[in-house]
């Protein structure tokens, strides 16, 4: 008689026959497969199996696939399997939902750390560095040439970019550099007071801001704001074939999209750095007044003695180098994007990380040169 047939189920085993009845669909197919596979590993397994579908009234593609799956699994264990007695309706579905023999490749989930690292390093050196320098050359060339040619840029685009990269960043730069100046002065004030060197707080704040912090804070903020935006914009254009469309219209995407950003950035970045300097020093002055009783008047008198023209010039040069670094990095990661929406996200993240790192590296190199 029937053995191994759970109550109320739509299938039963009898010797070497598997009866399936009523309906076999997405919600009850899993149970059949589980039970049937369990039988496969038991001792009294048959060496010939008939899957009897005479009582099966309806099935969907999941059900049909499960039947074929069982046949496949049984045959792997050398049990010959036949699917029999299907009604016309079920036969039609067996025909329509025939299994595919395609062997898919399981995704490689194990990975070797050393191999991965080695491959990445090799790829980095051989491809990325080369293309990065090519891009730098390209952008430098076109930035210079396009100074004298208006073509290939949309009218007003440079100004738009100056506003987007520079003007819109003013509020956040004012706020943050003021706070940093304030904190810088507060932290040093007690130390200086111990030595009775109160007035040198002015030199400390002014030199720190002008020579180092002002341009650097600005660059880091701009990298976060505009570097990411540049990478996302260019990556999206690449993914949606907009860059290809530009090319086929005879327009160089670099000149059309990137060069205005270079100009807009170079035009505004030095001013942003100056604003950061002024606000940072103002923050320092407030702290000095509140904590060390140095009045603003004293602060300003002392300041005029501690400012060097060289520091102002250094700041300007630094911020120009920084903005060019940011634009090039954003462009590079934007152009490198591979697939779809996720690629855009990756490109954006990478570009911000790389831009900030490169800015800091450039800062230390320039620091050594101008020291």
């Amino acid at each position: 008689m029937e053995e191994n047939s759970p109550k109320n189920s739509n299938f039963s085993f009898n010797q070497n026959v598997l009866f399936i009845k009523d309906r076999l669909e997405i919600d009850n197919a899993a149970k059949l497969v589980r039970e049937a596979l369990k039988r496969l590993s038991s001792k009294n397994r048959p060496n010939h199996l008939i899957i009897d579908l005479s009582q099966l009234k309806d099935a969907d593609s999941a059900g049909i696939t499960s039947i074929f799956y069982l046949k496949k699994e049984y045959e792997k264990c050398n049990i010959t399997t036949e699917i029999k007695y299907a009604s016309k309706k079920i036969s039609e579905k067996l025909e329509l939902f025939k299994p595919s023999n395609y062997q898919h490749i399981e995704k490689n989930k194990t990975f070797n750390l050393f191999y991965l690292f080695g491959e990445k390093a090799y790829k980095f050196l051989s491809e990325e560095i080369v293309s990065f320098f090519l891009l730098i050359a390209n952008i430098s060339f076109w930035s210079f040439t396009d100074l004298f040619k208006k073509k290939q840029r949309r009218k007003g685009e440079t100004v738009n970019q100056a506003v987007a990269i520079g003007v819109n960043a003013v509020p956040i730069i004012v706020a943050l550099s003021f706070i940093i100046g304030l904190v810088l002065a507060l932290q040093s004030a007690s130390q200086l007071r111990n030595f009775g060197a109160d007035i040198f707080i002015v030199d400390l704040v002014v030199i720190a801001m002008m020579a180092e912090m002002g341009p650097l804070i600005t660059a880091i903020l701009v990298a976060g704001r505009s570097g990411s935006a540049i990478a996302a914009e260019i990556a999206t254009m690449k993914v949606t074939s907009e860059t290809d469309a530009l090319k086929t219209m005879g327009i160089n995407p670099l000149r059309f999209v990137v060069i205005p950003k270079v100009y807009g950035g170079v035009m505004t970045m030095p001013f942003l750095a100056m604003i950061a300097n002024v606000c940072g020093i103002a923050g320092g002055a407030v702290a000095a007044w509140a904590y060390l009783d140095i009045t603003p008047a004293m602060f300003i008198t002392r300041m005029s003695e501690s400012i060097y023209q060289k520091d102002i010039l250094t700041g300007v040069i630094k911020s120009i180098v920084f903005i060019i670094t940011i634009v090039i990095t954003g462009t590079y990661f934007g152009l490198r994007v591979k697939e779809g929406a996720r690629g855009v996200g990756i490109a954006t993240t990478q570009s911000v990380v790389a831009a900030i790192s490169l800015v800091i590296i450039a800062d230390s190199i320039l620091g050594l040169i101008f020291y």
Partner: protein, 248 residues
């Protein structure tokens, strides 16, 4: 035999801002029928679909599907409605971060308790139906336009939905692939009792598969009937559509 109404649309209106895109559209789609919505570009076809699917919020009492006003569905009922409904989006809308196989498997993984070996077999079988088995491990960005369409169709029918919506599945396919696709849609209808609502511009495909045509012009239905009636309907826009489409 009285046919079962699967979709009943009653005086459906839609507008964007103050632009009226649908001006009171009414039609029904019956079980096991292939209803084809046609009409010029921008006439509001995709908008109808979006309203039926409640991707846009239609006015109350306008859209009844499976005998329910879709605006009254609760969150949970809506999920069940979506599981029962296959959708083929005009631009494919496969997830770019997943392979084709993973894209198609997604619905089964989320809404069934089948073991993954079977899910893989189902996915491969559905890919075989659309003749696209080798795309299993490829990402959507690695597929051609026509391959994307077919992958999207495989995804739409993965759950054997009783109701299938297709927005221009045939656009951009070569004539042979198009005929195969039509045959598949007819097979699904015949063997799985699917009700299908399809938007298409391909005249050859319309003649092959449509049970009923709904012709939309600037947000209004100007013709409703069988393909044969459409050809001799004496409505200029409709006759132009078929005449020009056949190259006459």
């Amino acid at each position: 035999m009285v046919q079962e109404k699967i979709i009943e649309v009653n005086n459906l209106t839609a507008s964007f801002g103050n632009k009226e895109v649908l001006k009171g559209v009414s039609f029904s789609a019956y079980k096991k029928e292939i209803t084809v919505i046609i009409g010029g570009s921008g006439s509001g076809k995709s908008t109808i679909l979006n309203n039926l699917l409640r991707l846009y919020e239609p006015p109350a009492n306008c859209v009844k599907i499976f005998n329910r006003d879709v605006t009254t569905l609760t969150e949970e009922e809506l999920t069940r409605f979506y599981i029962k409904t296959g959708v083929f989006f005009q631009n494919g809308a496969l997830l770019n971060s997943l392979t084709t196989g993973e894209n198609i498997a997604l619905n089964l993984e989320q809404h069934s308790n089948l073991p993954s070996a079977i899910i893989n077999d189902i996915v491969k079988m559905k890919l075989k139906l659309v003749n696209l088995e080798d795309a299993f491990n490829l990402y959507p960005s690695q597929l051609s336009g026509g391959m994307l369409k077919r992958a999207a169709l495989a995804r739409a029918v993965i759950m054997d939905p009783p109701l299938l919506f297709c927005d221009e599945p045939g656009a951009g396919l070569d004539p042979v692939s198009l005929a195969n696709l039509d045959q598949l849609i007819i097979d699904l209808r015949n063997k799985m009792n699917m009700t299908i609502v399809m938007i298409t511009h391909e005249v050859s495909s319309i003649m092959r598969i449509a049970d009923k045509i709904i012709f939309l012009d600037k947000g209004e239905i100007i013709f409703e009937g069988s393909p044969n009636d459409a050809v001799k309907s004496n409505i200029k826009a409709v006759e132009d559509f078929f005449g020009k489409g056949r190259g006459m």
